[in-house]
Symmetry: C3
Subunit: 145 residues, 3 copies
């Protein structure tokens, strides 16, 4: 791998992290699908394994359904390449808005994504994503289904 390849790969992996956020916030499932391998595994707040892209999409749709608006702000994307795979970590602040919720309209989760990326014919994709929470603020009822 040349130095140029490394730079391009890191940039491409960060772009997937951003595309994931945009896909969630726009409820764009076609875009979301491009972020994952078909057999990807994700671990969200309860740390149970969600296996395969269809289950991941179902889980995300369910989490977002009650919300009128979300913003997943991503920062600090740091990628470590290992040939056709890569480990990546990034920070996240996710704001969830649900007007009229008793106890307040906002719920914020701050955390990080720990990702395993693989290079595929369709570009870099997430093979494993683990979400870890640092703290939350606001009204948890906002995200209740």
């Amino acid at each position: 791998m040349t130095e140029f390849d490394a730079l391009r790969d890191k940039q491409a992996i960060a772009a997937v992290c951003y595309r994931y956020a945009f896909a969630l916030d726009a409820r764009d499932w076609t875009a979301l699908r491009t972020c994952f391998t078909a057999d990807a595994t994700a671990y969200y707040r309860d740390q149970h394994a969600t296996q395969g892209y269809p289950a991941i999409e179902t889980r995300i749709r369910s989490a977002l359904a009650p919300l009128s608006s979300t913003q997943h702000l991503i920062g600090n994307v740091l990628v470590t390449l290992a040939g056709d795979a890569a480990d990546s970590v990034c920070y996240l602040q996710a704001q969830h808005v649900r007007p009229g919720t008793d106890g307040g309209d906002m719920f914020i989760i701050a955390g990080r994504y720990l990702d395993r990326f693989v290079r595929t014919p369709d570009g870099w994709q997430i093979a494993q994503r683990r979400f870890e929470t640092f703290w939350t603020e606001g009204n948890p009822a906002v995200t209740a289904r």
Copy 2:
């Protein structure tokens, strides 16, 4: 366009998004001017077209005048190149501070910029910027003129 050109152009466009934020927060109009083409169009919260750089600067000066401090935190810059033009989207959290405002000192706007960039002899510049709000929090009177 080579792969290297694409990487360099994306990096340069993200840098303009950051320079715009720094210019606003430092009230640095010389720096702000370098971010836009002379005939740029901007759409801010009311979605009316602001035509030409002088009008854009006037509008921004007016919005910032009552505030003692702002921070425009940018994330998720994703650029799609098309030769000498580019579409870009980025996320934004803007904090506005005005001590002593009745009802609270802070007003936060979360949203995104949808940009059209063009390559010019002075580098990549914004030809069109559209701001869309996701949510706001705090005391709107903070930003009142």
Copy 3:
């Protein structure tokens, strides 16, 4: 310096800014050490000079000791290269959490780091870091020692 070198150096410097944040939030002093030159100077909120890496680590350890959790979200990293040195500015939102603190559990600081980087045999490192505060929110007692 070629255009490629410039791109790679800017990416490497941004990565150090992210590594610094991860090191603080994970209390990873081995990682933190790699971010600074041995004789680095830092200016934190009181703007007194903290001289040399050992003193910087001591200062950071002391600031973080009372906190159960922190997140240093970094954005807007803008680098200006000058051969084997570079000036860099980035934005920061630091959330400090200390459950059970009288008056509230959270304290947020928004500001920027103004950095002087130098190229060393161990990669780009911070020779001088100055922290400037834009605003704070929440309960200052959270960060009290």
